[in-house]
Each structure stands twice: as C-alpha cells, then as structure tokens.
C-alpha cells in the first residue's frame, strides 16, 4: 500500500524532471515541452509501454500530461480494433479524456466565480 505512494511520487517526479530538462537544457518553452510530452505519451502507448507504467506507478503515470497522449491513443486503438480505420478518429475521446473536459468545464466555472488577480467575485 505504502509502495504505491512511493512509486507514484518517484515516477511522477521523474516525468516532471524530464519536462524540466526539456525546458532548461533543451531551451523549449513550456508549450513546446508539454506538447512533446503528450506526443511521447501517445507513442509509448502505441508501443504498449504506457499501460504497464500505469500499472506500476498508478497516479504517477496518470496525473502527468503524458497520460493525455496515452488515453487519446488508447481510445483510438481500442475503437480501431473494433470498427476498423474510422475507429481511430471516433475512439479518441471515447474511453477517457476527463482531463480535457474537466479543464474546459472548470475553466468556465472559474471564469464565472473568480475575478482576475485572484479575488472571489
């Protein structure tokens, strides 16, 4: 039980370190870095490597932005298996992408209740 937290911490930290190195050493902007990480997540899932990482590290692999790439690809491949080529397009947001929807919804709600510069309306 405790180990699940330790692994979540370590793997999550490592993914963030990779992001930090991309920004510091690679001189990428945050936008470039996050986009790169999402693509990496997608490729890793294509190779069947991201799901085992989730099994191992739990939230350490589902919380970083890389999991977006993974879940979009996972949905695309699952639908393609069932429904052929069109499944690649239709399946993407099917299995999951709660993160993107949540960000949109909470962004809207946040815009309604918060004032800029961080005061409650």
């Amino acid at each position: 039980m405790v180990m699940s937290f330790v692994f979540a911490f370590i793997v999550g930290g490592i993914i963030c370190v990779i992001g930090q190195l991309l920004m510091d050493v690679g001189k990428l902007t945050p936008g470039h870095t996050l986009s790169t990480l999402v693509v990496v997540g997608a490729i890793l899932d294509g190779m069947g490597l991201y799901e085992p990482l989730i099994d191992f590290a739990g939230a350490g692999a589902t919380v970083p932005i890389t999991s977006f790439g993974n879940s979009l690809t996972h949905g695309a491949m699952a639908e393609a298996e069932k429904h052929g080529l069109v499944g690649v397009l239709s399946g993407m947001f099917e299995v999951t992408s709660a993160g993107i929807s949540a960000a949109i919804v909470f962004g809207f709600i946040g815009a309604l209740i918060f004032k800029p510069k961080g005061n409650i309306d």
């Binding site: 963030c16 490729i43 695309a76």
Partner: protein
C-alpha cells in the same frame, strides 16, 4: 551579422539556470502532486465503485478541480514560480493554463473573451495529443492489417 552578434551577446550575458536546483524542485513538487493524485485515486476506489482501471478519470477531473481552486485564489502562480515543470507537467498545470486564461478574459464576455481565449495556452497540447494519437493509431492499424503486430 548584427542579429548573430546580438544573439551571441545575449547568450553570454543571460545567467544560466540553476539546473540542479530546478530539477530537484521539479522532482519534489511533481512527485508531490502525483502522490496527492494517488491518494485521490484510492479515495475513489474505496468509497465509490471505481476500479484501478476506471479510477483515472475522476482522479484527473478532481486534480483539475483543485487546480481551479488554486488558480482562482492566485496560489498556483506562486507554486509555478518556484517549481517550474513540477507544476506545469501534471494535469493540474494544464488545468491552470486553461482556467487562468478563462478568468483573465472574462471581462471581454463569455463568448468572445472566455470562449475565444480558453485554449490560448493549452491548444497546442490538445492539438498534438489528438494528432499524435491519430498517427500512432493509424500506424498501428496498418501494422496489424499487414500482420506484423497484433492488437
């Protein structure tokens, strides 16, 4: 020529980022956010009917909710200033980017302000996520059809 000279001058004068410190901060804050995510996952598995496989969805949604609270009170900015990638890489960073853009442009109205600017910072993430998922899916489909790999 001048451009080149200026670039070189800029590179020489710009202070180098403290690599080790940044990496350490990113590791700790990123790891901490993921650990909180793990606790949230466990919460959903124990008190609700989610399995390990399905708990990822509510966990991510909850983390974005936390990001909304922290962004709304201006606290996420401070975390970001000290933690760099540690606060940008987790999904909370994505949430913060979207939510802060929405809050900032509220004054321009919901449709043009919020709607038009919501994806200003996060659009590239969604774009490259979808496009890469498409190509990876396509390649995998082709490989399976040829018979090189199986699903």
């Amino acid at each position: 020529m001048e451009k080149e000279q200026y670039k070189k001058l800029e590179q020489n004068v710009t202070p180098k980022p403290p690599y080790l410190k940044n990496v350490a901060k990113a590791f700790f804050v990123g790891g901490l956010i993921c650990t909180i995510g793990q606790a949230v996952s466990l919460f959903y598995m124990i008190f609700f009917n989610f399995t390990e496989a399905t708990a990822g969805n509510p966990t991510v949604a909850t983390m974005v909710f936390f990001a909304m609270i922290l962004t709304g009170f201006g606290l996420y900015k401070r975390i970001g200033q000290c933690a760099g990638a540690g606060s940008a890489v987790p999904v909370t960073g994505f949430g913060n980017a979207v939510i802060s853009a929405a809050i900032e442009h509220r004054s321009e109205g919901l449709v043009l302000g919020v709607g038009g600017n919501l994806f200003k910072l996060a659009g590239s993430v969604v774009l490259f996520g979808v496009v890469s998922a498409f190509f990876v899916g396509l390649i995998k489909y082709i490989l399976v059809t040829i018979g090189v790999v199986s699903w």
